[in-house]
Symmetry: none
Subunit: 143 residues, 4 copies
Amino acid sequence: MNPLTLRQASGIVDASLAHAHELGLRPLAVTVLDAGGNPLVVKREETAGILRPQIAHAKAWGCLGTGQGGAAGARHANRDPAFFAALATISEGRIAASKGGALIRDGEGALLGAIGVSGDRPDNDEAAAVFGVHKEGLAADVG
Amino acid sequence: MNPLTLRQASGIVDASLAHAHELGLRPLAVTVLDAGGNPLVVKREETAGILRPQIAHAKAWGCLGTGQGGAAGARHANRDPAFFAALATISEGRIAASKGGALIRDGEGALLGAIGVSGDRPDNDEAAAVFGVHKEGLAADVG
Amino acid sequence: MNPLTLRQASGIVDASLAHAHELGLRPLAVTVLDAGGNPLVVKREETAGILRPQIAHAKAWGCLGTGQGGAAGARHANRDPAFFAALATISEGRIAASKGGALIRDGEGALLGAIGVSGDRPDNDEAAAVFGVHKEGLAADVG
Amino acid sequence: MNPLTLRQASGIVDASLAHAHELGLRPLAVTVLDAGGNPLVVKREETAGILRPQIAHAKAWGCLGTGQGGAAGARHANRDPAFFAALATISEGRIAASKGGALIRDGEGALLGAIGVSGDRPDNDEAAAVFGVHKEGLAADVG
């Protein structure tokens, strides 16, 4: 397993943003973290809301925090809202269990990092995230 | 009453993890706190989510915080979610009222500390926690 | 005055990193903020320290916070350390008065944003920051 | 490069504590983090101060945050106290630039994680840290 590089993370983010433009999505922030939860690339379109980078970060970090993709996290949060409310505080605001977050894995399934996208509807954020990860030849685990 | 030692806490954590492996549980974090709520041992399996230590801590600390085991805490949280939401903030994120936390008591029922386990389903986390405490010859009070 | 775009910010960050490679600098993080102090682009080389993005952010944000470049901030901090210690707390950790931060201005001197670079010695961080801003045809105000 | 495992981290921590006992050191806390800054093992002797785990964490995390060992961090902090005071706030209390922290590297120099030891004098904390890392066949980079 090789750690995710800045070059790969940049490729993922740029492909996600390019796909979002093709789909006509609203302005986005996209973040790619390494497996330890530390940022490699953050990009916010200049007309996106100013909290979008933190939301994108929390979608990505939340996947790493609990070891599951954003779609799985969103399902679990719906089933157990009190626990996920507690997680928000326990994590000091670093978790948003929502579509738009995905674990990034290599061909053998090893964990390389996570992506978070925020700005449009959760389904569209997820589509942009998954597209970017695939474009770089990696797997997007949404759970 | 003798305070819980690092040697005992290490024995509890290692027995919990060994039992989790036998059961085939997902990667875990296990924490043992002394009666003052301060950590003696934290272990996170290298493939467990990076928030798992804090969740395990909050399960254990929450037991000491309210003086009841995690199963009792989970029941109370279900009955009174608004109060437990307030507790999350009051405790500055140190409480997760969930199965997987237990008070650790000696043979006379004196409080020695608490254990928290996070990574699998709450029932399985609790099974690993209770096993580890029993293995060290102590009582696990899940409430 | 047109606000700084994501496209411009990306150009600045990539030029700074390319220049740092030419100079053989240590692994860096580079951040460009808009005039409101909100991130447009953050990049961290995969071998840079995990606090580097926050330090780069604080160098850039600190320039916007006090309206002066990082070199001027560093001089002021040396003359009045107690005041800058207070600023660290007042800003909730968003200020690092150090070389490597610069205000970004257009040809008329209008404020467009700020850049922060962290990872090598302050003089080298500043050289990378200034190079990137100039490459995009803008002015780097280090104070 | 393989990530640091819980088994290796446990070996390092136990060897550090055993060496500290041989040297007759005061009660310690020892922490090993993975390369992303997330804990694998924390142990606090039951008579060690209750802040010792957080200090050990900050010594280890600080090494990863700036990419240098604790001895190098301590020298830099002595030369530029205002910047390191700012780092304490920027990092939200996750940095203690002090002897007793070391980067953990494999035989090729690849970064695997960090260790932090707190409880005795900085030189003694460092000796315990280095001994534990060497015992596991890895390199301790104190800077």
